[in-house]
Amino acid sequence: MKKTISVSAGALALAFTLLAPLSASAGEAMRVVRDPVTGEMRGPTAAEAAAFAKAEAQLRLGSGSKAIVKTPVEIRYADGTVETKLDEDSMMFSVVSANEDGTLNFDCLPAQEAKQFMKDKAPAKSASKAKAAAKVKHDH
């Protein structure tokens, strides 16, 4: 069975097509590459294979936050199944901050808001601003 990976950013210079043996759930796939000059499908060169392996490793999201895909990727399978690789923006982050009285504020936010939350709590902020921010979230 055939599946096509679409990468919308410039992470891959070529469009790779995977030929998997049986179904969308099948394992290792044969790799073919559309030659950028001739337009014909052929086996990958060593460099192309290495680039593909690197991109695929990123898609697997398999080793913690460093491997999170930054650009949404869709994989279309021959049976009509469509897989959308989810990036960090689809993940949920638990954050916490301490109030002056010792109680804690919890919240569950996506990546960008969680980063902003921590940025707002950073020591570089003036004491008054940090205090104001703490008062906005006053779950005690």
Binding site: T84, M92, F93
Partner: protein, 480 residues
């Protein structure tokens, strides 16, 4: 790097955790420990077994707690396909007073797979596998990725002294219950979220999530997948007008949520502008407000030492005389609300009203956090605007009487706490929009508190099913 793969066994979950009601549930959760040797889940720092967690190293305790939480989910869900979680504990962003606890999410969504209940609809990876009855995508790919903070509480720059509680019994005290946070974040990874952007209303790839087929704006009567982007964006900030229409959750509401809205009804010759009924936020500590109201005269507590905060010290004779047998009114701040309530209780008060100090845009004051489970009198929070009115009304009191009375209870409306008048669960839709927190959580007004509210309440247990929790029922609504 060493990778350790664990299968969260159902035997452990079913036998030792005492779960009920899901006897036919069966889902195998595989945990890929992606930490390197000596760190995270492999940290060899000696540790003393705690709260039913038998691990003797920090890493072993972390992994045991993670496996325990996975088992709770595994014993509840049903799937013929394994659910693989790539898990790690790494240093995450911290300051002395705040921290990123961790993150989790589905690695992929799928649509138009075999057996999909709805075409052109996005399903989270693990749910899609269950519905397809096959392992979609890349062989052995993880369905969920999860990473949690390994530094929490362990150094001066990462919320010192407030580390993970790695016990399994919920006795976390002032620490942070790892198991509960894991359950919440795993829930998102398993499908408790929409992939639609609530702020813009844009659907992921132009397709609705299965979530959006059950999410309804009660102001328009439209489900989210039927709305335009602009309508969804408006619905996401509609406060108490965003509801869940799934039949499983709706049917369970009477068994899980308290009937009646927590409220305070003020009366008396001196009540003035505060006369009438106002919504209150309940406390995570002490007894809940019941259907039988607590009635009493309201007396304010004065600050005894300048800067020490109202109610933060054991009451002196003046304050004790004022609140004996009455409802104490205390302003929020300086010390915890539970400390104020403890001091009021010791002085003979029958209940406590905490006046907020910050204005907020919500239909109900947020709950009072706290972890003291030994308190015997209820406490509740009122909005800043109501607190100002009450303080004004109390200004002419004598030392022992105010002429302002209050009835505290669930007499604020004929509906369940956290549901709309038609008995549908409210979903979190604050105004302004809080991306991520919004739409993909139960509303914060739910009582009893629910695992999948955006905040972690101190009184949460580890249940995923009624009578304590509706998380699994919502998962069933979307196809689990």
């Amino acid at each position: 790097m060493t990778t350790k793969q664990l299968i969260a066994t159902l035997a452990l979950a079913g036998a030792s955790l005492g779960l009920t009601g899901t006897a036919q549930a069966a889902a195998t959760i595989v945990i890929n420990n992606t930490n390197a040797a000596g760190v995270g889940f492999n940290d060899t720092t000696p540790a003393t077994p705690v709260g039913g967690n038998p691990g003797t190293t920090l890493g072993a305790q972390r992994l045991f707690a993670f496996t325990y939480a996975a088992n709770l989910w595994g014993a509840t869900l049903t799937s013929s396909q394994p659910i693989v979680i790539n898990a790690s504990m790494t240093p995450l962003t911290c300051t002395a007073t705040s921290a990123t606890l961790g993150s989790a999410g589905a690695t992929s969504s799928f649509r138009n797979f075999a057996n999909a209940p709805y075409a052109n609809t996005q399903y989270s990876y693990a749910l899609a596998n269950k519905l397809a009855g096959a392992y979609l995508g890349t062989a052995n790919a993880a369905q969920i990725t999860a990473s949690f903070n390994s530094n929490l509480g362990l150094n001066a720059n990462c919320l010192p002294g407030r580390g993970w509680y790695l016990g399994l019994d919920g006795n976390h005290g002032t620490d942070i219950d790892f198991v509960v946070v894991l359950l919440h974040e795993m829930g998102h990874g398993l499908g408790f979220q929409t992939f639609t952007n609530g702020s813009s209303g844009a659907q992921s790839g132009g397709f609705p999530s299965i979530w959006d087929r059950f999410l309804m704006g009660s102001a328009t009567g439209k489900l989210w997948y039927e709305m335009t982007n602009a309508e969804r964006a408006a619905s996401a900030i509609s406060m108490d007008k965003l509801v869940w229409t799934g039949p499983n959750v709706t049917a369970a509401i009477p068994n899980v949520l308290k009937f009646g809205l927590a409220s305070a009804t003020f009366s008396g010759s001196a009540a003035g502008a505060i006369a009438g009924t106002v919504r209150v936020g309940e406390a995570d500590f002490g007894p809940a407000l019941g259907s039988s109201p607590i009635y009493g005269e309201v007396m304010p507590v004065t600050e005894q030492t300048a800067g020490a905060g109202e109610g933060c010290e054991p009451f002196n004779a003046t304050n004790a005389r004022a609140v004996q047998g009455k409802v104490a009114f205390i302003t929020l701040g300086v010390c915890t609300a539970s400390t104020k309530t403890r001091n009021a209780e010791n002085a003979g008060a029958i209940a406590v009203i905490i006046g907020d100090t910050v204005a907020e845009t919500a239909v109900q004051p947020i709950p009072l956090g706290g972890w003291d489970r030994t308190l015997t009198i209820p406490a509740s929070r009122i909005f800043l605007t109501d607190a100002v009115k009450l303080r004004t009304a109390l200004a002419k009191r004598s030392r022992t009487a105010s002429g302002v009375f209050v009835s505290l209870g669930r007499n604020g409306g004929a509906q369940y706490a956290g549901a709309d008048p038609f008995g549908r669960a409210l979903m979190y839709a604050p105004n302004p929009f809080i991306s991520g927190s919004s739409v993909s959580h139960f509303d914060r007004t739910m009582f009893r508190n629910q695992l999948m509210e955006p905040n972690i309440s101190n009184d949460l247990g580890q249940g995923l099913i009624p009578p304590t929790d509706m998380t699994f029922l919502l998962m069933q609504d979307i196809g689990w």
